[in-house]
């Protein structure tokens, strides 16, 4: 990881991997790829490889963790030790605990948790290979996994990061841009009603850049939303047609 900062991250309007500022990395989503989980999804976004699994709604144990009026949503964001350049020490750290919390709060708005009092819904997100934007890609996969589990939802949640490199606002930061860029803003959205369910930011944005970044995020989210729906159709359309 001791690579030197490239002189420029943006040359003639092209990024290190040839993308334009408003382009996503190659995206692939697959629904229902784990046998035992109630719902699951796999996402590749550029070099990111992420698995998400959902268990539940099921009875919450131990009982003192139950909520009398709603189901509890639990999220665990976890990075595999081999997912980054230098081996990551296994287990939760401060970063992953914070990310697990914001992911839970990004997914909660789409769920009807009051339908399952005393129950728990577990969402597990495993980062197998990381290349920046893992929390938002994790949210994208997790919401497909929730739909795959048949959990009632108001909408899907699609996540993407936007940021600033060499003074230009760009969509979907890759590792080098995350590391050397001037700002990073992960965003998650319920695409149909354009509600923002996750928003974090670090770096330096003028108010104009902030607006521009939001515009770009909404644009990216549209594409991700289509890919999420495609993934679900790919799995469920054939069986629907068979049943007809």
């Amino acid at each position: 990881m001791a690579e030197a900062k490239p002189e420029k991250l943006l040359v003639d309007g092209r990024r290190l991997d040839g993308r334009r500022p408003d382009e996503l990395r190659p995206l692939r989503i697959k629904a229902g790829i784990l046998k035992r989980a109630d719902g699951s999804a796999y996402i590749e976004l550029g070099k990111n490889k992420i698995l998400a699994a959902v268990y539940g709604p099921k009875e919450m144990h131990p009982r003192h963790l139950q909520q009398a009026d709603v189901a509890v949503l639990r999220c665990r964001y976890n990075m595999a030790p081999f997912s980054v350049e230098e081996r990551k020490r296994p287990g939760p750290d401060r970063r992953s605990m914070e990310i697990s919390k914001v992911i839970r709060e990004a997914l909660e708005p789409v769920l009807f948790l009051h339908l399952y009092p005393r129950a728990v819904i577990d969402v597990f997100i495993e980062i197998l290979q990381a290349d920046a934007g893992t929390r938002t890609a994790g949210i994208t996969a997790a919401s497909v996994a929730l739909a795959d589990a048949g959990v009632p939802m108001r909408d899907l949640v699609a996540g993407i990061s936007v940021g600033k490199v060499d003074g230009t606002v760009v969509l979907d930061l890759m590792k080098e841009e995350d590391q050397w860029g001037e700002a990073d803003m992960p965003v998650a959205v319920m695409p149909r009603r354009k509600c923002i369910t996750l928003l974090q930011m670090d770096g330096n944005f003028t108010p104009q850049e902030f607006r521009q970044a939001l515009d770009l995020a909404f644009k990216g989210v549209e594409q991700i939303y289509e890919a999420q729906k495609e993934a679900l159709k790919e799995k469920y359309l054939p069986s629907l047609e068979e049943g007809r």
Partner: protein, 253 residues
């Protein structure tokens, strides 16, 4: 960090908010009384006690020599830690920091780090071998809402209180600071946005957004919290509140 609150109380707070009012008579864009006391702890290199109404947060800054991280051999180190002390609320328990304490520390860390208020390069003693480490310890003493804004205020005030000559081996004329970031947290109650939520307002709101701004109005950190959501226009409004209230708060630093 949610605590239980009676539903009649909730409805009352929401009703008030819908009329643009608040339970303690404040305007929606008005902070509680802010007090900042500096130099409250003699054993810290810098310290501050901030009160936002009944909320009290103390911050101590300690400087120690340490080894730089291998990927930033010429940069000093910044470490932010937050303790939600059991004496501050009946809902806080002893033990290792939970996700709320970790989030609080990390939001303050991002605000200070990304504002670049500390010139960490100046804290290099010997490249690759020895640098100054700045430890910011946030001690929450009384939790009556809006811990993030109080913690950022206290941290920035404590950093500006650092008197370096007291540390052995210090050679710089002063502690290298160059910005005053301020965090403003906006909560949403049934669509109504307000700043500096008291505990009951905080527990009634379903979503909050913290925006940390610099002197020029630029944003250096943001964090959404809670299980609700924001619409696009609400973000614009939150930014305006953060800029306006941030300016007021900065005058007190």
């Amino acid at each position: 960090m949610k605590e239980l609150i009676a539903s009649v109380k909730k409805e009352y707070l929401v009703d008030l908010a819908m009329q643009g009012k608040r339970v303690d008579g404040r305007a929606l864009d008005q902070y509680r009384e802010v007090s900042i006391e500096r130099g409250v702890i003699g054993t810290a290199q810098g310290s501050a006690l901030v009160k936002l109404g009944n909320t009290q947060v103390m911050v101590g800054v300690k400087l120690e020599k340490g080894e730089p991280f291998p990927d930033t051999p010429t940069s000093g180190i910044l470490v932010v830690n937050a303790e939600l002390l059991p004496l501050a609320s009946p809902t806080f328990e002893p033990g290792p920091p939970n996700e709320n304490a970790i989030e609080l520390a990390r939001v303050v860390d991002r605000t200070i780090r990304e504002s670049q208020m500390i010139d960490l390069e100046k804290l290099c003693i010997k490249e690759g071998e020895e640098v100054w480490a700045v430890f910011i310890d946030i001690y929450v003493l009384d939790h009556d809402g809006n811990l993030i804004d109080a913690s950022v205020l206290a941290s920035v005030a404590a950093l500006y209180d650092v008197k370096p000559p007291a540390v052995e081996g210090w050679t710089l004329p002063e502690f290298p600071l160059r910005a005053k970031p301020v965090a403003v947290t906006v909560v949403k109650l049934n669509g109504v946005m307000m700043v500096d939520a008291g505990l009951e307002e905080e527990n009634t709101a379903d979503v909050r957004l913290t925006i940390s701004t610099l002197e020029n109005g630029n944003i250096c950190a943001m964090q959404k919290g809670g299980s609700g959501f924001f619409q696009r226009e609400e973000l614009e409004k939150a930014y305006e509140l953060a800029r306006k209230c941030g300016e007021e708060l900065r005058k007190k630093l």
